[in-house]
């Protein structure tokens, strides 16, 4: 074969446009923080930043799991309920075994979530039911189980071992453990999705389910796998929730699923699957949490928060649509090489 002149892998203007998505969120964050700080400098106090980061950590772990599922053109609405069940399970376990190491607590929480994930995945894949319906069902079922089990009782901070509560507040080099765990989850998932065959197959499935089947991708196993990851991360988030707040009742995490989906969508993960990153989803979680805190600092009625989040979702989807149309037009133009 003759020597081939290879085009150097260059960063096209297209990549810049696509990257602008994450840039947009960062920009929004900067503006938000700047405006809030001017109005009230205490917004940048250590305590305030710590609160935002702890809140983000829990939401980001959930958002990373959700992103994995959404990338495969599915959705997992059961994460809020799974968080509640996991938090209550681990809380009860620690009540009875105060000496249990934190790492075991984390593993138990993840296992509880993974079990629900298996149910979700199997029903979606082999029951051939849309994920929206299946996970809406498990949302209520799991929450019902938690209520039944708790029977109205609540686990208070003084009933939990101090070692576990310390874990919720302790820091390593100034960074809370919760944030470190969220970062670890984010980096591992991000690398797997970007650099491993399994990850690319998830994108492929979301991009074209039909082509994925024809390409010989084990669609069934990967679908179940994505739901297991989402469930396990929701379970893990439940343990983080318990460690942070110390007070757990059966209603823990109610309504979280909508925040999580919002974070993922604002973070630029396409709801039709096939594109988006967990980094974007995590940034979305950071933005939503920061909005919540800043409205409190600015003494704006909390109810406005929902309207703002809603507006942000519409803005994000609108922007995605606009970019998609422009990119498609650009690709068509440089598509043909037949001269």
């Amino acid at each position: 074969m003759t020597a081939v002149e290879l085009p150097a892998p260059r960063r096209s203007s297209l990549d810049v446009v696509l990257r602008a998505r994450e840039l947009g969120i960062v920009l929004a964050l900067v503006v938000l923080v700047a405006v809030t700080t001017i109005s009230n400098p205490r917004f940048l106090s250590a305590q305030s930043i710590r609160d935002i980061l702890l809140g983000t950590a829990i939401l980001a772990v959930l958002a990373v799991g959700q992103a994995v599922v959404v990338i495969t053109r599915n959705i997992d609405l059961s994460v809020g309920s799974v968080l509640g069940l996991s938090a209550f399970t681990v809380g009860t376990l620690l009540q009875n075994n105060p000496r249990l190491p934190v790492i075991i607590a984390l593993a138990v929480g993840a296992a509880v979530g993974a079990a629900v994930g298996v149910v979700n995945g199997v029903l979606v894949r082999y029951g051939n039911v849309p994920a929206l319906v299946v996970t809406l069902g498990t949302l209520y079922v799991v929450r019902g189980i938690t209520y039944f089990w708790a029977g109205g009782q609540q686990i208070n901070a003084d009933e939990l071992p101090s070692g576990f509560l310390d874990f919720g507040n302790a820091t390593f080099l100034g960074v809370p453990y919760l944030v470190l765990i969220a970062l670890l989850v984010l980096v591992v998932t991000g690398v797997v999705l970007r650099n491993y065959r399994v990850g690319r197959e998830l994108y492929a499935m979301g991009s074209s389910p039909q082509a994925a089947r024809l390409a010989g991708i084990a669609v069934g196993r990967r679908t179940v796998g994505a739901f297991v990851v989402s469930g396990a991360l929701a379970g893990l988030a439940g343990v983080l929730f318990a460690a942070r707040f110390g007070t757990i009742d059966a209603a823990a995490g109610t309504g979280y699923e909508l925040n999580v989906v919002a974070a993922v969508v604002v973070g630029g993960v396409a709801v039709f699957g096939g594109s988006g990153t967990v980094w974007g989803a995590a940034l979305g979680a950071l933005l939503l949490t920061t909005i919540g805190s800043s409205l409190a600092v600015l003494e704006i009625n909390q109810f406005w928060q929902q309207a703002i989040v809603g507006g942000l979702i519409l803005l994000a989807i609108g922007a995605d649509r606009l970019v998609a149309v422009r990119v498609a037009a650009g690709l068509k133009k440089r598509g043909s090489h037949v001269s």
Binding site: L6, P9, N195, G216, L331, S336
Partner: protein
């Protein structure tokens, strides 16, 4: 080029879908270094063969052997592992992923810690494109690639997998002349490197240009396998169609009246171009051609469901606005669509509601539909068409295919059309009902309705039509009178072989 032993053998393979036998006892061999054409009419079973080779369908009986060893082709992954690559008419790429990634999916080059080595992946793709002599940027997403480029990416995929058997299912259907040339150059080099190529096409000039051997199928059965050197195009056409014309098609002789439908210069880029014809009252005109030649699109554009770029449609001297089925209906046009489940019926609604749907306005009183009028009208029409049903209030979805088709016909005949357009009126219905539908169309024509019929079934076209219009690749290429139209002349026109038989 080809040595004595076949690379891939298909042995007495059969496949049924429900009661329909799609492929029955088909056997043929593919040799390395040889391009093998698979031809047959629409519905002859070619696509089913392709899907079995691809591992999408599993054969009911029979074996597929590679190098004399039986293959277990249960999933597409099995076919891929066996070195069989299939290139479909509609390429199956991942639009969100880069071209390089599309090619490498499932066997990406790995670096440290089993991570994907992106640089190597892009390099591989670039090398494959260089070998194919095309310049597609490996880094760009697959979204937005032309069909031709998508097919080249599919071929690069087959190359990267070192596929020994490459199946191409009508790859040229959507390509321009230049693109076909480039595809063939690539296919030839693939063949000369020792791969066994299976090529499916309706265009004989392409088959003779590329292939060494041809297998002909008809009605799910193997008819013959010959070296192309030993067979003429005439013989191929005859073997493809060769079946007896039954007395199934009772067309009454009618003297045509005034022009009822007049189409002039109808165009819609790139689907059809400059289509002009007339249909007179009392006449049945067939629109023949291969699937994808633009027939259904033309009639949908006439009815106004599909847009058009230019051209005029006149019904009994009245010009129809483009894109307005409502106006077309008011002018007396009725369209019985090709796909009755999707376009013709509301499967969950009752028989009576379906029959009276296009007339719900005229049947209603003060804006309300009253059950009585609806039921009376529905009963009248279903009885005229001898529809078999339990109760008029039953869901249409519970009826058999033939009776569903009668409900669709009843629905439109009740509007008292001057121009009746039927698209594949007898697809998927049994012989008895078929004859009833044919009798009905014939008697409608005798009553002075102008009938335009799109059909892929040649016997039906020849039996029913007073005139046959043949379309090929979006153009009207032939107009044949009843006496001129034969299976051969229609097939030749439809496939682009003008030579007279």
């Amino acid at each position: 080029m080809a040595d004595g032993r076949p690379l891939l053998s298909v042995r007495e393979v059969s496949k049924s879908f429900g009661a329909v036998a799609a492929v029955r006892d088909v056997s043929f061999d593919l040799y390395g270094g040889e391009a093998h054409a698979l031809v047959g009419e629409n519905g002859a079973g070619k696509s089913t063969i392709v899907k079995m080779l691809a591992g999408v369908h599993r054969a009911d009986s029979g074996v597929i052997e590679l190098d004399g060893i039986p293959l277990e082709l249960g999933t597409p992954a099995d076919a891929k592992a066996a070195g069989i690559a299939v290139i479909y008419q509609e390429p199956t790429l991942f639009p969100d992923l880069s071209v390089a990634e599309n090619i490498a999916m499932g066997r990406q080059p790995l670096g440290r810690f089993k991570t994907i080595d992106r640089a190597a992946m892009v390099r591989q793709a670039a090398q494959l494109f260089a070998r194919l002599g095309v310049s597609i940027d490996p880094n760009r997403p697959a979204r937005g690639l032309s069909i031709a480029d998508q097919q080249l990416v599919e071929i690069a995929k087959a190359l990267s997998a070192d596929a020994r058997v490459v199946v191409m299912d009508e790859p040229t259907a959507a390509l321009t002349g230049v693109e076909v040339e480039r595809l063939f150059a690539v296919a030839r080099s693939l063949r000369d490197d020792g791969a066994a190529l299976m090529f499916i096409s309706h265009r004989f000039e392409e088959i003779t240009a590329l292939c060494q051997r041809v297998t002909i199928m008809r009605d799910g059965r193997h008819v013959s396998t010959d070296l192309l050197a030993d067979i003429t195009v005439d013989e191929m056409v005859r073997k493809m169609v060769g079946r007896e014309l039954g007395a199934l098609f009772p067309k009454q002789d009618v003297t045509p009246g005034a022009v009822a439908l007049s189409v002039r210069g109808l165009s819609r880029d790139p689907v059809f171009l400059d289509v002009s014809f007339d249909v007179r009252a009392g006449e049945i005109v067939a629109l023949a051609g291969l699937v994808g030649s633009g027939r259904s699109e033309v009639v949908q554009s006439i009815f106004g469901v599909d847009p058009r770029d230019s051209g005029t449609v006149e019904v009994v001297g009245r010009t129809l606005r483009p894109g307005s089925p409502k106006q077309a209906m008011a002018a007396g046009v009725a369209l019985v669509p090709e796909d009755r489940r999707q376009q013709g019926l509301l499967m969950e609604l009752s028989i009576e509601r379906n029959v009276t749907l296009p007339r719900s306005r005229s049947l209603s009183q003060l804006g309300f539909l009253t059950g009585g009028r609806e039921r009376r009208s529905a009963r009248e029409w279903t009885q005229r068409l001898k529809t078999k049903y339990g109760r008029l209030s039953d869901e249409v979805g519970t009826l058999s295919g033939g009776n569903q088709q009668k409900v669709v016909l009843a629905k439109w005949l009740a509007t008292d059309p001057k121009v009746l357009i039927v698209d594949e009126p007898t697809r998927g219905i049994d012989v008895g009902t078929k004859a009833e539908v044919h009798r009905l169309m014939s008697s409608l024509a005798a009553e002075g309705v102008a009938v335009l019929m799109v059909s892929s079934e040649l016997p039906e076209v020849l039996g029913m039509a007073d005139r046959v219009l043949v379309m090929r690749e979006g153009r009207l290429v032939a107009e044949l009178t009843r006496s001129e139209a034969t299976e051969e002349s229609v097939m030749f026109a439809a496939t682009g072989q003008e030579a007279a038989v």
